[in-house]
């Protein structure tokens, strides 16, 4: 009897520990190696690189520039907020801001892409929207005029 009890306690403790560990993995911020990235003028480039990193990590360099260009195009468009911050933090505008991907440190490719987009390179020729055709379910987004498709994103106006 006593032995079984001890076993039960041991199992309970083990499960609790495992559970805490898993929870920590999900909730806790795992420590990542950070490197000095360089110097940017104005935090626009950095903010843009963070949103590119959150929205288009794993896309080709061109796909990342294109996402950055959409944000720059929105800043220039009168129907959107007129700063990089305003566009990026418009409530609900970007998944990466809602789910917290934005708050990771960017990779160096994203910074390069952000710089190109801010300096005027625009593979989308004025696109204001992009979406993933595999997951986008909004009917409205499909009514946009498609300009081109780069990687897994469709760019449109």
């Amino acid at each position: 009897m006593v032995k079984t009890r001890i076993r039960v306690i041991a199992v309970v403790v083990a499960v609790t520990l495992l559970f805490t560990f898993i929870l920590n993995q999900i909730v806790g911020t795992s420590e990542k190696a950070l490197a000095r990235g360089g110097t940017v003028s104005s935090n626009d480039v950095y903010v843009l690189s963070k949103i590119i990193n959150g929205e288009a990590r794993g896309e080709s360099f061109l796909g990342q520039v294109a996402v950055g260009a959409v944000i720059v195009n929105r800043v220039k468009n009168p129907n959107f907020p007129n700063s990089v911050y305003g566009v990026v933090f418009e409530p609900g505008a970007f998944d990466a801001v809602s789910d917290g991907q934005y708050y990771r440190k960017p990779l160096s490719a994203s910074v390069k892409a952000a710089r190109a987009a801010i300096s005027g390179w625009d593979p989308t020729y004025g696109a204001l929207y992009y979406w993933n055709p595999a997951t986008a379910t909004s009917r409205w987004i499909w009514s946009r005029k498609i300009i081109n498709r780069i990687g897994k994103h469709v760019f449109g106006r």
């Binding site: 009890r5 990235g37 940017v40 907020p81 609900g92 505008a93 809602s98 390179w121 593979p123």
Partner: protein, 456 residues
């Protein structure tokens, strides 16, 4: 026996403590979540309440401008309206409506902003009482403002009376991917948008119309196919360099239809090159080589020389550098073409140089290929000397030169460009070469720099 009994309570005891602990943890989490949600909710409520207030003030100002009989009051009224419109746009941008189509409502606000800005910049030259054509434009804006204000006030009343929550709308919208059908708040905005749609396009006349420059070269007759695009890319990017492959990655159908090409270099350690070739006329619109740039070995004047050689190699002559951005061992030069001694600002190109070995790693010529042509340039009526006497003595002048610019409305104007500074701030001021009026002032001071961290 007593011993056994005590042992019997160990497991249930641990479980009870664990349950209490979890319960307490859950409750605190819930409290924190509620607290955050309430904070988000109050921000949304404030943004919406301010939006209705600003729309009301804008409507009032639009009516007031019709009846005001002095320039002083008109300037104040227009300035108030301009500020209120800016605030209303900010409020609208702060609401969780990113998935709701509101383009007409947003268009109304930006139109009203443009009109107030233009009238503001013109009022000093005008009569005491508003001119008839301007009154007409403001009248059209007034009708739209009335309608919008009315819808927002109705919705505001519903939000207050039915205790509607913006955060709940936000969650529901996200879950429904923007296709939320029956929601009071969303319906309120959709109704406002519909009323804006019912009005015909604003008749603003030439004074407020944005001039769209005619697109030139890339709208030509000559259509190229994929194979030709590959050849063009091969010849355009370092023709002597050996290439592994040139692939078509996408076809663009935007303002400039293009073939998106990717050049895979023969040397494995080299970065691929991306470039876009226009389907009409076969011009390379832009190119990028996203390589990692090592420490600088090349100075900016050598970099500029490399750019000039590159531009000349691609038949772009007579180019004047007007701006350099230099960050992280990469310099981006902006060049504009010269016609005679006049700089053509609308036709700019950018060239990026890697300062480790001085190679070109980027070219951006969209503006050049869309707009470049030979202009009919009048001679300046105001001489350089007359202009010099007109300048503010507090400006430390660095150079004066003739330049063609596109003004706020996209109209091309011949100007005198004056570069100068005040303390640490640098400016380019553009004076109309015919009338001498200050057309545009551009701040050139580089933004503050800071170091940042990357994930490895």
């Amino acid at each position: 026996m007593r011993n056994m009994k005590w042992r019997n309570w160990i497991v249930p005891g641990i479980l009870v403590v664990a349950l209490l602990g979890t319960g307490y943890w859950g409750y605190t989490e819930y409290k924190v979540r509620q607290d955050l949600q309430n904070r988000a909710e109050s921000q949304y409520q404030r943004a919406f309440y301010e939006l209705t207030q600003h729309l009301d003030t804008i409507t009032g100002q639009l009516a007031q401008l019709q009846v005001i009989a002095s320039k002083e009051q008109r300037i104040l009224g227009l300035a108030t309206m301009w500020r209120q419109i800016f605030a209303a746009q900010d409020n609208l941008g702060g609401l969780p409506l990113a998935l709701v189509p509101l383009s007409k409502t947003e268009k109304f606000l930006s139109d009203a902003g443009d009109v107030s800005y233009t009238l503001l910049s013109r009022t000093t030259k005008q009569k005491e009482i508003l001119e008839e054509k301007d009154a007409k434009v403001l009248g059209q804006l007034y009708q739209r403002a009335e309608a919008l204000k009315e819808e927002m006030a109705k919705l505001g009343a519903k939000i207050l009376n039915e205790e509607l929550s913006w955060t709940q709308v936000e969650v529901a919208l996200k879950e429904a991917n923007g296709n939320l059908e029956d929601n009071t708040i969303i319906n309120g905005f959709k109704l406002a948008e519909k009323r804006m749609e019912e009005y015909p396009e604003m008749e603003t006349g030439d004074d407020f119309a944005l001039v769209k420059p005619e697109v030139k070269i890339v709208r030509g007759e000559e259509k190229i196919d994929k194979a030709e695009a590959v050849q063009i890319a091969d010849k355009w990017w370092n023709p002597k360099e050996e290439k592994e492959a040139i692939n078509l990655t996408y076809e663009g159908v935007g303002d400039i239809p293009t073939y998106g090409m990717e050049i895979i270099p023969a040397k494995k350690e080299e970065s691929p090159v991306y470039l876009d070739v226009s389907k009409l006329d076969g011009k390379v619109i832009w190119a990028m080589k996203p390589k990692d740039v090592a420490a600088s070995n090349v100075d900016l004047s050598q970099g500029e020389q490399n750019c000039q050689e590159f531009l000349a190699g691609h038949n772009l002559y007579n180019m004047e550098p007007i701006h350099i951005e230099n960050e992280d061992n990469t310099a981006i030069y902006t060049f504009v073409p010269r016609q005679g001694n006049v700089l053509l600002y609308p036709d700019q190109v950018k060239v990026a140089v890697a300062l480790d070995n001085g190679e070109i790693i980027g070219f951006e010529g969209t503006a050049y290929y869309m707009y470049h042509r030979t202009r009919d340039l009048p001679l300046p009526k105001i001489s350089e000397n007359t202009l010099k006497n007109q300048l503010n003595p507090r400006l430390k002048v660095e150079l004066i030169r003739p330049a063609l610019i596109a003004n706020d409305w996209g109209k091309e104007v011949l100007t005198w460009e004056v570069r100068g500074s005040y303390d640490k701030e640098k400016f380019a001021l553009f004076y109309n070469a015919e009338s001498g009026s200050e057309e545009m002032i551009v701040r050139l001071t580089p933004p503050p720099k800071f170091d940042f961290l990357l994930e490895e």
